[in-house]
């Protein structure tokens, strides 16, 4: 019965011998081949093209693209917690509003420069995410969605009522001109660049996370938390970190948005429709991938602008109807549908509708 481990290849595999101990990044760079580095190259090309495009377009188009970049960042952020990790947060706008108000309060009340306020805004977002994440990430499904929705509404009400600090419902203004301005206003070209960089950073963060050990852990938590725990994944840490990373990106976006808007109210930056737009963009694109939310954000933002320009008062009505139709016809997301259809050569939309019907 005294079975000493038999030396040999079997024991090696089972008991684990140290594999290569090269650093993470060295490993990645060595692993790059022309076949698997094309997404990175394509991303770089798009980024460069967007930089070049800025010189060619009129201010209106520039503003539209700036809002597209904002939503690319927000959609990527939501996808980290809602798509990869499987916790559908309906309260991400809380981090947006907190980021916006941190920057506005610091710049307005304490004359702090934007660049000093920005990291603090991100910090506030992350701290709030960890604080509510620890208890709420134990809830599942609708319960998590409702609890996060409640947290966002609650955060708005707190900002709304801390009148002496935030100006309450009367709104807040960031000084942007003359000697009062802690940081000179960026102007349209400056914000185009700022949001472009933010979008790029969020895409890179999502892509790097997705391909890392942590990315696999998120997917495992999404699929089955019992099984994830059994293979050594600390599910609590994975969920809270994913929530925190998502919150950091959203808070950062909120900070830039605040500076861009100059003047805003709690109802603007805590507007639940920001959250819903994040969810819709991820869902329409296809969750749990990097391309899905990117395509969803670009497509939906351009569409909604098109509707606003061409349909006047009817634009929101049609927008709602489009959401309904997309949910019914492409419940797995348009990008995912197209990918699967391409692979299996089955394009029938009716078969697609049968997927989740009663």
């Amino acid at each position: 019965m005294s079975a000493a481990p038999t030396p040999g290849p079997m024991a090696d595999i089972l008991q684990g011998r140290a594999r290569s101990r090269q650093g993470l990044f060295v490993g990645w760079i060595r692993a790059l081949t022309p076949a698997n580095s094309w997404p990175a190259l394509a991303g770089l090309l798009v980024f460069a093209a967007m930089l070049a495009l800025q010189q060619l377009i009129e201010p209106g188009t520039q503003r539209l693209l700036t809002s597209v970049f904002l939503f690319v960042a927000l959609a990527q952020a939501w996808n980290i917690i809602g798509g990869y990790t499987g916790y559908a947060s309906f309260g991400q706008v809380a981090f947006f509003g907190l980021g916006a108000y941190t920057v506005a309060v610091l710049m307005n009340n304490y004359h702090v420069s934007f660049w000093a306020a920005l990291p603090l805004a991100v910090l506030v977002g992350v701290v709030f995410a960890v604080a509510i994440g620890l208890p709420l990430l134990r809830l599942r499904g609708h319960y998590f969605a409702i609890a996060t929705l409640g947290a966002a509404e609650g955060a708005r009400e707190v900002i709304n009522n801390l009148t002496s600090v935030t100006g309450g419902g009367g709104g807040i203004t960031i000084p942007t001109f003359g000697s009062d301005a802690p940081t000179p206003y960026f102007g349209k070209p400056g914000f185009y660049l700022a949001f472009l960089v933010l979008a790029a950073v969020s895409v890179v963060v999502a892509a790097v996370l997705a391909r890392s050990r942590f990315g696999y852990a998120m997917v495992a938590v999404h699929e089955d938390e019992d099984a994830a725990g059994a293979v050594g994944i600390n599910t609590t840490v994975v969920k809270v970190v994913a929530f925190g990373v998502s919150a950091a990106i959203v808070a950062c976006a909120g900070a830039f948005y605040a500076f861009q808007q100059i003047e805003f109210y709690p109802t603007d930056v805590f507007d639940a429709s920001f959250t819903v737009l994040m969810v819709i963009m991820v869902m329409i694109g296809g969750s749990g991938s990097v391309v899905g939310p990117l395509a969803g954000a670009v497509g939906l933002q351009l569409l909604s602008q098109f509707l606003r320009v061409n349909l006047g008062n009817f634009n929101q009505l049609i927008f709602g109807a489009i959401i309904v139709l997309v949910v019914v016809f492409f419940p797995q997301g348009v990008v995912t549908y197209l990918r699967d259809a391409w692979r299996t050569r089955q394009f029938s939309i009716l078969d697609n509708v049968r997927r989740y019907r009663l």
Partner: protein
């Protein structure tokens, strides 16, 4: 039974007076036993005897109402599953729980990424996964989706996932149920090979025949309590075991 002199001073797993109540029902009641290094312990019992509950309590997937679980002499009662996994305890699930969105290879690689002695990169983990898939015999399905696997192969995947965490103690929950004869034989052979590689095994089974050929000792659970614990021969000849398994009518008929 093992003679006292041969028992290592610290058992790999020790369970003391373990009990679990669900509402008004005791799923497990005052269960105590220990498993020494390199041993294969079979746990059998009819449906609802508390076998899966026992595994869940040991691996932290449920909290015991009372009692203690010790791994290598350390009290781990009520610890979360990943803490237990990092104490080099791995398990399979009776109802297989693959990560459906990933390939078979990736499923196994996750254990290598997050278990013990873990690989530093995803690429290394995938290489480890390939070796383990080869070991359990489903290397040809490495790129398949786990839902496409047959019942037997899904169980093998479950085993490979657990092994990827580099356990010293492996708890397998009904790996052989529903398998065909030759599949059971290869599973038995695999369990022996695991033991030879230094892994202590607790095998929970419903199928008596398979467990008898693989175990050093067998623990019989009945209505949440230990009915008996001993060598396969002792357990098989115990009339209480036969009665619990086959009903008293069978016992009566045999004695006639």
């Amino acid at each position: 039974m093992i003679a006292p002199s041969e028992v290592p001073s610290v058992p790999v797993l020790e369970v003391r007076h373990l009990a679990k109540r669900f509402g008004g029902l005791w799923a497990l009641r005052d269960v105590s036993f220990s498993v020494s290094e390199g041993e294969i312990l079979g746990v059998i019992g009819p449906n609802g005897a508390g076998k899966s509950t026992l595994v869940n309590l040991i691996t932290g997937h449920a909290r015991p109402t009372t009692g203690q679980v010790l791994i290598g002499g350390q009290d781990v009662t009520g610890q979360r599953p990943w803490v237990i996994a990092h104490d080099r305890v791995a398990r399979t699930f009776q109802i297989v729980k693959p990560f459906r969105g990933l390939t078979v290879r990736e499923n196994v690689a996750i254990g290598a990424m997050h278990g013990n002695e873990r690989d530093r990169s995803v690429r290394d983990s995938l290489a480890t996964a390939d070796e383990l898939l080869d070991l359990v015999g489903i290397a040809k399905h490495a790129n398949a989706a786990p839902m496409q696997l047959s019942v037997a192969d899904a169980r093998r995947l479950e085993l490979a996932k657990a092994l990827a965490t580099r356990p010293r103690l492996l708890l397998i929950d009904e790996v052989m149920a529903g398998l065909r004869h030759h599949e059971i034989e290869s599973a038995v052979e695999l369990i022996h090979r695991l033991r030879d590689a230094g892994i202590t095994v607790v095998a929970v089974e419903h199928v008596m025949k398979a467990i008898v050929s693989v175990s050093d000792r067998i623990l019989v659970l009945h209505h949440g309590s230990i009915l008996t614990l001993g060598s396969p021969r002792e357990v098989l000849s115990d009339p209480r075991v036969i009665e619990a398994y086959l009903g008293h009518r069978y016992v009566k008929r045999r004695s006639e």
